[in-house]
């Protein structure tokens, strides 16, 4: 499976200059790819374009030569740094998960999610626990590519290993694509097959 970006350019309406200019990328689901860039360099914006969360941009994003669907489930899923910001605070965790898919018990177990957490509200769980939910929610069977934007930056080292190992296991099983966006070089070196530096492909 290939996620391809052709001549992507983007500028925020209020900005004078382009943030991203003529970016070309071909991402292969066989490899774990690390995307590296300074903060403010447009990493997160590029991730949002690649996953279809920003609809207006110049250029094309295709998944196996087809454009990303405009409606319905997004096959390229994005995981953010702060899980507490992407969950409905008035829903219990069970509902948060079911919004995406019926998660089998094996997956809950793989990610160390306790059954008792399902009846809690987001604010009753710590960042590490919430991020497990955020990841599991994105692992819908229709997901083809996973983009982890600083997914484990706020977590302790042990939780980081747990989450990343579990994600990699499932990504390999399902032959999904995985892009890790991080500024933590030792982490990128440890798990990625290929590194992409945003400043080298961004022609601003």
């Amino acid at each position: 499976m290939k996620l391809k970006a052709e001549n992507i350019s983007f500028k925020y309406p209020s900005a004078k200059k382009y943030l991203l200019k003529d970016i070309n990328l071909e991402l292969d689901s066989d490899k774990v790819i690390g995307l590296i860039g300074d903060s403010g360099s447009g990493k997160s914006t590029l991730c949002k374009i690649l996953s279809g969360y920003i609809p207006k941009y110049e250029g094309n994003v295709t998944l196996d030569r087809k454009p990303l669907p405009k409606k319905g489930f997004k096959p390229v899923q994005l995981i953010y740094q702060h899980p507490e910001k992407v969950m409905n605070p008035k829903w219990k965790m069970k509902q948060v998960l079911e919004e995406s898919w019926d998660v089998p018990d094996e997956i809950l177990e793989e990610f160390g999610i306790q059954k008792s957490w399902l009846t809690r509200f987001p604010q009753e769980l710590s960042g590490g626990e919430l991020q497990r939910f955020s990841v599991v929610r994105s692992l819908n069977p229709d997901t083809k590519f996973l983009i982890a934007d600083e997914m484990t930056t706020m977590l302790d080292a042990i939780t980081q290993v747990q989450i990343i190992e579990s994600v990699l296991k499932i990504v390999k099983e399902r032959k999904m694509g995985f892009i890790l966006v991080s500024h933590d070089m030792p982490l990128v070196e440890k798990i990625c097959d290929e590194k992409i530096y945003l400043k080298e492909i961004n022609n601003i």
Binding site: D38, S39, G40, G112, Q114, E124, L125, S126, G127, G128, E129, L130, T153, M154, L155, D156, A157, I158, T159, Q160, V161, Q162, E165, H183, D184, P186, L187, E189, K190, I191
Partner: protein, 319 residues
């Protein structure tokens, strides 16, 4: 070096309504002890959402109303009452808060840095001092007239740091000063703390970022499920982590991508889930039978401290 702050067996709990008029007492911090001397940087390392920011709030007496705090917080050997805290805060003890959200969005930067003044003369005097410190932190005169939303992340951080230093504090408490900043600004922020240390200021750094802690702290307190489980020296975080004492600290060190990325199972017990005994019992590889029901105290080993029965007889007994 004189001891500045002593936090002894502090616990913090929240009274919450569950259903109807039923209340419960949710313990977030069970036993937190640490101390800081002049010219020392002590980091408290804990994962996000673990409640470590409450320590800062307890020191400054700004816990919410439904919070209950036990234990002692001493400054220069004297136990602090709420009145003492109100007297000292913003003067001898200063807080660098977590985010720009702590700035007043409707107030110009310079005005809120100076704060309340009695008369014009005092205001003028403080204004000069504020300008000096801002200049030192590379904040030009135009910043004085700005509102918080006009600041970049790095500038906002410098405003918070320089505002804290305005009163020549002896002790600075920094609550998560690094997230959301790029590498350059992180290094810059950490350098500010190094400079404070050189000036004899004691710094309490509350963070989840082990790299930041190792970069500048003299000692590191590890916070786990509401307990300080170890206070280690910076140099112990080296090699295979063989000088670290608590099994959790060792595991944490070995889980770093540069040190093996080793996996251990389990999760930190949530607030209200902590068993009677050792908070690490469920995950511990070298637990004793007594650890299940009996809770270890923080054992003082001179420069280091650890909460584990294994070290009751001292460190030498380690096999």
């Amino acid at each position: 070096m004189e001891k500045l702050l002593d936090v002894e067996n502090v616990s913090i709990s929240f009274i919450q309504y569950t259903k109807g008029l039923n209340q419960r007492d949710l313990k977030v911090i069970t036993d937190l002890s640490l101390d800081i001397s002049e010219g020392e940087i002590l980091a408290v390392l804990g994962s996000s959402g673990s409640g470590k920011s409450l320590l800062a709030h307890a020191i400054f007496g700004i816990l919410p109303e439904n919070a209950r705090q036990n234990g002692k917080i001493k400054y220069k050997g004297k136990e602090l009452s709420q009145e003492d805290k109100e007297e000292l805060r913003g003067k001898e003890i200063a807080l660098i808060p977590q985010s720009v959200n702590f700035l007043d969005p409707l107030m110009k930067i310079s005005d809120q840095a100076i704060g309340n003044t009695e008369n014009d003369a005092e205001k003028k005097e403080k204004k000069i001092k504020q300008r000096e410190i801002f200049e030192h932190y590379n904040l030009g005169p135009e910043v004085d007239e700005m509102y918080p939303f006009q600041l970049s992340g790095g500038m906002a951080r410098r405003v918070l740091v320089s505002t804290a230093l305005l009163s020549n504090p002896k002790l600075v408490v920094a609550d998560e000063p690094t997230p959301g900043l790029d590498e350059k600004t992180v290094i810059e922020t950490l350098n500010h703390f190094k400079h404070m240390k050189e000036d004899g200021v004691g710094v309490l750094l509350i963070t989840h970022d082990i790299h930041a802690a190792l970069e500048i702290a003299d000692r590191i307190g590890i916070f786990y499920s509401g307990f300080v489980i170890e206070i280690a020296e910076n140099k112990d975080f080296s090699g295979d982590g063989e000088n670290l004492l608590h099994p959790y600290t060792k595991a944490l060190y070995k889980a770093l991508p540069a040190n093996g990325f080793e996996l251990i199972k389990g999760h930190q017990p949530l607030h209200g889930e902590i068993s009677q005994g050792c908070p690490y019992y469920d995950r511990c590889e070298m637990r004793f039978d007594r650890c299940k029901d009996e809770r270890p105290e923080l054992i003082d080993l001179g420069k280091k401290k650890v909460r584990c029965f294994k070290y009751e007889e001292g460190v030498e007994n380690e096999t």
